[in-house]
């Protein structure tokens, strides 16, 4: 009797491997480039507002690492969520549900980039920023994707922290620490996330329902979601003006953020007021589209002011 009794009976002559289908473009799609662009932008603003100097090459490296770290989180998110991504119309064309990249390939890609981006940020910039990036990836993949997303309607409220950390990491790349200013930048994105995502969830409600993701409109109903969108907007608008009062933004930002915030509030009131049919759908899509413009403008004006002040 042999110790090895079992023989592999697979005929390797006829083995066909269904992996290796992904093009370079498919792997870039795993990085969620559109999310990445907002991460790069907010991290850049955090770096520019931070006191102190960072050599432009080191600054570029920091931004690259933050961007790749965010992309790695996206790839790991797609790895874990492949089952629900194939059900939702918004995500069905992503590389894994489309059959272009296997789950194992996406996992390996995400892990490699996570370790690479954190190690490079730590070695070349500073280890506080590197550790912060590692925590952000952990928060997005483990806390949000694996734990909260499928278990609570507060998923994007708490998980939104991951998307709000980049300006703090940018700031930490320059200073090696955190401060009230960078925390306020974090809070703006953190409080902005619920009205932004719930506006999307209101007009993609059927998708989330089909996939069994407990988004707020699915669990608490559309009326409660509209109330909460308005509630968060009422907190967000004054919070977004606060950099002026705290003293790290100028009068241009103060006036512009108040004006932009008034428009945000107007759209949120419309979402709250219009609850039936086409007008309701239009109100939510408008708030969703405007919310992206709003956040972009807030950070763009902060950046412009800091550039003008530096002249």
């Amino acid at each position: 009797m042999s110790l090895v009794e079992r023989q592999d009976t697979i005929n390797t002559d006829s083995l066909v491997w269904d992996g290796g289908q992904g093009s370079v473009g498919d792997y870039i799609a795993l990085l969620k480039p559109r999310v990445m662009s907002l991460v790069i932008f907010t991290a850049f603003v955090g770096m520019m507002l931070a006191p102190g100097q960072l050599h432009p090459v080191i600054g570029g490296v920091a931004l690259l690492c933050i961007a790749i770290g965010a992309g790695a989180s996206g790839a790991l998110n797609m790895w874990y969520d492949a089952d629900i991504d194939q059900i939702m119309s918004r995500t069905a064309k992503r590389p894994i549900p489309a059959g272009k990249v296997s789950r194992d390939e996406a996992f390996a890609f995400g892990i490699t980039l996570s370790i690479g981006s954190v190690a490079t940020l730590g070695l070349l910039v500073n280890w506080f920023a590197g550790a912060f990036l590692a925590f952000t990836i952990f928060f997005y993949v483990i806390v949000y994707t694996m734990w909260l997303k499928r278990s609570t309607p507060q998923n994007i409220v708490i998980g939104g922290a991951a998307g709000a950390f980049p300006p703090m990491i940018g700031w930490a790349s320059v200073t090696g620490g955190v401060s009230l200013e960078s925390f306020v930048l974090f809070l703006i994105i953190f409080i902005w996330t619920p009205p932004h995502f719930w506006a999307l969830a209101l007009f993609k409600n059927a998708d989330y329902k089909a996939a069994g993701v407990p988004m707020m409109p699915v669990v608490a109903g559309e009326n409660s979601t509209r109330n909460q969108i308005l509630g968060y907007s009422l907190v967000l608008v004054p919070l977004a003006v606060s950099p002026y009062f705290i003293g790290f933004a100028g009068i241009v930002y103060g006036v512009a953020s108040a004006g932009l915030g008034a428009a945000f509030l107007g759209l949120a009131v419309n979402v709250w007021r219009l609850r039936e049919g086409e007008p309701a759908r239009k109100a939510t899509t408008r708030l969703f589209a405007y919310s992206i413009f709003y956040l972009f403008m807030l950070f763009a004006i902060l950046l412009a002011e800091s550039l003008v002040a530096g002249l």
């Binding site: 002559d13 066909v16 491997w17 290796g20 289908q21 490296v61």
Partner: protein
């Protein structure tokens, strides 16, 4: 059948995409080498010449 023909056989499309992925990895590794070199020079600055002979 020769031994080279045994095992997993890739389709023409898989071979083509593998080549493009390999090229992308090579370019990325090359870029990293240049990046680490440049950052080393930037971090050392003028000190790079200031050493005992």
């Amino acid at each position: 059948m020769t031994s080279e023909e045994k095992g997993i056989r890739l389709t023409e499309g898989q071979v083509k995409r593998r080549r493009s992925r390999s090229l992308a990895i090579a370019l990325t590794l090359g870029a990293l080498v240049i990046l680490f070199y440049v950052v080393t020079i930037v971090k050392m600055g003028p000190e790079i010449l200031n050493r005992a002979l």
